[in-house]
């Protein structure tokens, strides 16, 4: 179980669609949104990344940026409605910086939520998220 919790920490929630994690930022009262092992396993290492500017108002399910990984490009889709407060400048400068410890370094942006209770009900805890992951990604957790 310790291996599992380091691959998919239990102290945050996960979005089944975007694979992003959401965590309370206790210092600011906002939420941190980031990439984790399932994102990196499914897309490969990130090489290019864009994230909308602070102040951007976004709804859950809308694109807040884009990325190019080893084999694939895609949108960064916000799992939470709200206003972007900060972007992780380090990861914008060096997208691979998330790879070693994505749950510490892989946060993409912080957001002041506008409908957190509603959005929260759409997110999954780590065990439930693990269950809905495709088999080839679940296999990665046991390596």
């Amino acid at each position: 179980m310790s291996d599992f919790s380091s691959w998919l920490p239990t102290d945050r929630l996960y979005d089944e669609s975007s694979y992003l994690w959401v965590k309370d930022d206790l210092e600011s009262g906002n939420l941190l949104v980031g990439i984790g092992n399932p994102t990196i396993e499914s897309l490969g290492e990130l090489s290019y990344l864009t994230i909308s500017s602070p102040g951007t108002v976004v709804k859950r399910g809308e694109s807040v940026g884009s990325m190019e990984a080893a084999k694939m490009t895609g949108e960064i889709v916000s799992p939470v409605s709200g206003t972007i407060v900060h972007r992780n400048e380090d990861i914008l400068d060096d997208p691979r910086s998330a790879s070693g410890d994505p749950y510490r370094n892989g946060w993409l942006f912080s957001i002041a939520p506008t409908s957190w209770d509603e959005d929260k009900s759409c997110l999954l805890d780590s065990a439930s998220f693990f269950d809905v992951l495709p088999e080839d990604l679940r296999d990665s957790a046991s390596v």
Partner: protein, 369 residues
């Protein structure tokens, strides 16, 4: 399983891209769609490329060649009557291919591999997004995931290629499309007209690709058309994205490519290595010099290092693997020599100023010998 076939001929760049995007974003991505199409002659750059570094915009304007930006990554390409566009759109929950991007890419491209096998050609994957025949590239591949989770697989399959025209409109080391440039590029690409028959038509190729995917996926594709939602979405995307200069000319990523050169004298001759680096990603590496090695061994090494992390240990492992596969084709050069030269070039890229570094899908600056 529902599977739809769309055939389009001679679409312009804006319509070609907006329809692919609409198919992938549509809320009704419930079925697999295979779109086979050709473009009116145009240049398409990759999602995060800097267009001014890639395209000779003055020549494009003079020749009335439009330029646009794909949602997929990779290098710049020309598309026209002899390059078959293949778009495979897959629903988010499809079990047809895996979820990992590597298995997605390979799974989606298997229909092309099967098609080529039908022509007696054995193709293999190499590097980030290449499909090669005996080391020569015959198709460029790309993947894009839309906000709703739909997957777009893009491929440009070469029935034929006007290399002189490509070298005219794309920025490469061969600015003047010289005989030397034409020859060097020609050696590194494969086309179906060259490999199979000069009589092969685009219609014949479309039929073969449809059959290749049907056999590979064990499904039948029925000819269809866009539904009303897809058509509306395509029109919206055309207006707000693919006709928008801000999309086409964007420089959204703050990471610019750097180039580094390094020369290393070895027992087998001088290794002259050029590396293109985007932060910690080695986008491309090119080996030149007066050493003796087979073209295939060099292509294999270069391809295996495309989009590789710049970490020394990981690079050494990859170089060793490629080297051991082709050991007999490297004369007087060791895997350590190659590693030292590649790492030297990467190290130099740290100190070089930012450079304009074109990175085309079918030709790159390192092709020069």
């Amino acid at each position: 399983m529902k599977a739809r076939l769309l055939i389009d001929r001679s679409v312009d760049d804006q319509h070609g891209l907006s329809v692919d995007d609409a198919l992938t974003r549509s809320s009704e991505v419930a079925s697999i769609t295979l779109r086979l199409y050709t473009y009116q002659t145009c240049v398409l750059v990759g999602r995060f490329q800097h267009i001014h570094d890639e395209v000779n915009l003055d020549r494009c304007r003079a020749l009335n060649v439009p330029v646009n930006r794909r949602p997929t990554g990779g290098g710049s390409i020309i598309m026209g009557a002899d390059q078959l566009g293949i778009a495979l759109v897959i629903p988010p929950d499809s079990k047809l291919v895996g979820r990992k991007s590597t298995s997605l890419m390979r799974g989606c491209a298997k229909g092309i591999v099967r098609t080529l096998r039908g022509f007696g050609i054995e193709a293999e994957f190499r590097g980030k997004n290449d499909l090669v025949v005996s080391g020569r590239k015959i198709a460029g591949l790309g993947l894009y995931q839309a906000p709703g989770g739909g997957i777009l697989f893009h491929a440009s399959l070469l029935l034929d290629l006007d290399i002189q025209f490509m070298l005219t409109v794309l920025k490469t080391a061969f600015e003047n499309a010289s005989d030397r440039g034409l020859s060097a590029v020609s050696e590194r690409i494969a086309t179906l007209r060259r490999e199979v028959s000069s009589d092969l038509s685009i219609s014949g190729l479309m039929k073969a690709v449809k059959l290749g995917y049907e056999n590979e996926f064990s499904i039948g594709f029925r000819r269809g058309q866009l539904n009303a939602e897809e058509q509306l979405l395509a029109n919206q995307l055309l207006e707000r994205q693919y006709r928008d200069r801000q999309w086409v000319f964007q420089t959204s990523s703050r990471i610019k490519d750097r180039v580094g050169h390094y020369k290393l004298k070895t027992k087998g001759g001088t290794l002259d290595v050029r590396a293109i680096v985007a932060r910690r990603t080695l986008k491309s590496v090119f080996l030149n010099g007066d050493f003796i090695a087979s073209e295939n061994a060099i292509f294999d090494l270069e391809s295996s290092l495309k989009w590789h992390i710049t970490d020394a240990e990981a690079l050494n492992r990859t170089i060793e693997r490629s080297y051991l596969k082709n050991r007999q084709f490297w004369d007087g050069i060791s895997a350590t020599d190659i590693s030292d030269a590649v790492l030297g070039a990467i190290g130099q890229s740290d100190s070089d100023s930012f450079a304009s570094v074109p990175n085309s899908c079918f030709v790159h600056s390192g092709t020069i010998q």
